[in-house]
Symmetry: C2
Subunit: 215 residues, 2 copies
DNA sequence: AGATAATTTGACCGATTGGTAAACATTACA
DNA sequence: TGTAATGTTTACCAATCGGTCAAATTATCT
């Protein structure tokens, strides 16, 4: 019989697993640069090294590919925020959150750009996830930060905008990589740049959140 | 005679000026959301309220439209950084730079997204401007900041990463507007959100750059 | 090995893409 | 007002788009 398309089968073949992986890898390459509408199945197929109908055998539509990709990436992307620990020491929790986010920007820039592209377009495919799970998670962590501020462990500040600023400053190094590279010139090699950024951001946030600001 | 297409003429007609303005306005709408490859001339034409060939009478190609748009926007976009004054008081200069950038994110979100899209795609159309004029301007202002730090007027810090962090935190409110809105919920109206962000960023940067950090 | 299911491909489809040609309409200016 | 330049539109083009189909190939299991 022809096929219940990959998705329908109960057990996943070894081939299915390999090829779907291969496809999503290529899709990440393409979608993260050109966004949903700017990407073509043909290009993804070429990067994946297989024919277009073969791609469409595993994912029925371009949208299905994009969705599968987003779903997979979304989970790991929020991992650092989930790891944010209410019981820990505020300063070191925030510090290590920043570092983790920066590491992700360094190690998974395509994933960062995939989301950035989606956001720029008004998040047509993930707006529900934003208003649901993401908001819940942020609300929870914001409450933790607020409690820390109330207890005088860090400066009083809007926890939501604090989180936004950590997101934006760290992801900037993935999303605006070209600009960063162009402005800094090619003298700073990859690892040096990363360490410079980490040191600066630590200084910025630790200073900005210290309990007794001088100004 | 048929036409030396608009560009070639010496004096620009009233109609030329109006229509080109109309087109670039529509192009900004479309390009800022979908990026270069994701945008279509047809869609821009529809938004602009004119026929596709009419569009192509004023701009020969899609690329020409995009370039004209980028060129026009690039200048005003760097205005706040240019206004950065070496003679002024460091603290208030930085403070007002942040505020100006935040105001631009609020008042010109499409322009911000246009650039963000271009950066995500590796800046294929503006990489030269980045390495040239932009880098020069940033180099110049970075030197000013470095001098301030050396004179003990602000904390010692990497001036480049300081500038990056101001760019990213402020532009975040334009580029990731959907996310911000989703997370904050619709309770915070536009103006309130802006003021909250301004207050937080001011606290963050003034604290982070104060001369005697406690940590 | 043989049968059956899973995988892959070339050929193809209608719709949309960026862009052109030429006829037509309008404007500006003597 | 006439006419030349400017502006606009209809019809169209080849290329590419997302996606289908049926045939061919390969893997799996008895």
């Amino acid at each position: 019989m022809a096929i219940p398309r990959a998705a329908k089968t109960q057990r996943r073949t070894r081939i299915q697993e390999e090829k779907e992986e291969q496809i999503l890898e290529a899709a990440l390459d393409v979608f993260s640069v050109h966004g949903f509408r700017g990407s073509t199945i043909d290009q993804i197929a070429e990067v994946a090294g297989m024919s277009k109908p073969n791609l469409l055998y595993y994912f029925r539509t371009k949208e299905a590919m994009h969705r599968a990709l987003i779903d997979r990436v979304l989970f790991t992307w929020l991992e650092p925020l989930r790891a944010f620990n209410a019981e820990g020491d505020p300063e070191s929790e925030i510090r290590s959150y920043i570092r983790r986010k920066l590491e992700m920007a360094r190690d998974f820039p395509r994933e960062s750009r995939l989301f950035a592209n989606e956001m720029l377009q008004g998040a047509p495919h993930v707006v529900d996830e934003l208003k649901g799970p993401l908001k819940s998670l942020v609300d929870e962590k914001a409450e933790v930060i607020r409690a820390w501020a109330k207890a005088g462990k860090i400066a009083k500040c809007d926890p939501y905008h604090l989180i936004f600023s950590i997101w934006s400053t760290t992801q900037h190094y993935a999303d605006f990589d070209v600009q960063v590279r162009a402005v800094l010139g090619d003298q700073h090699s990859g690892e040096g740049r990363f360490e410079d950024a980490a040191r600066f951001l630590e200084q910025l946030f630790m200073g900005g959140l210290s309990v007794h600001p001088l100004t």
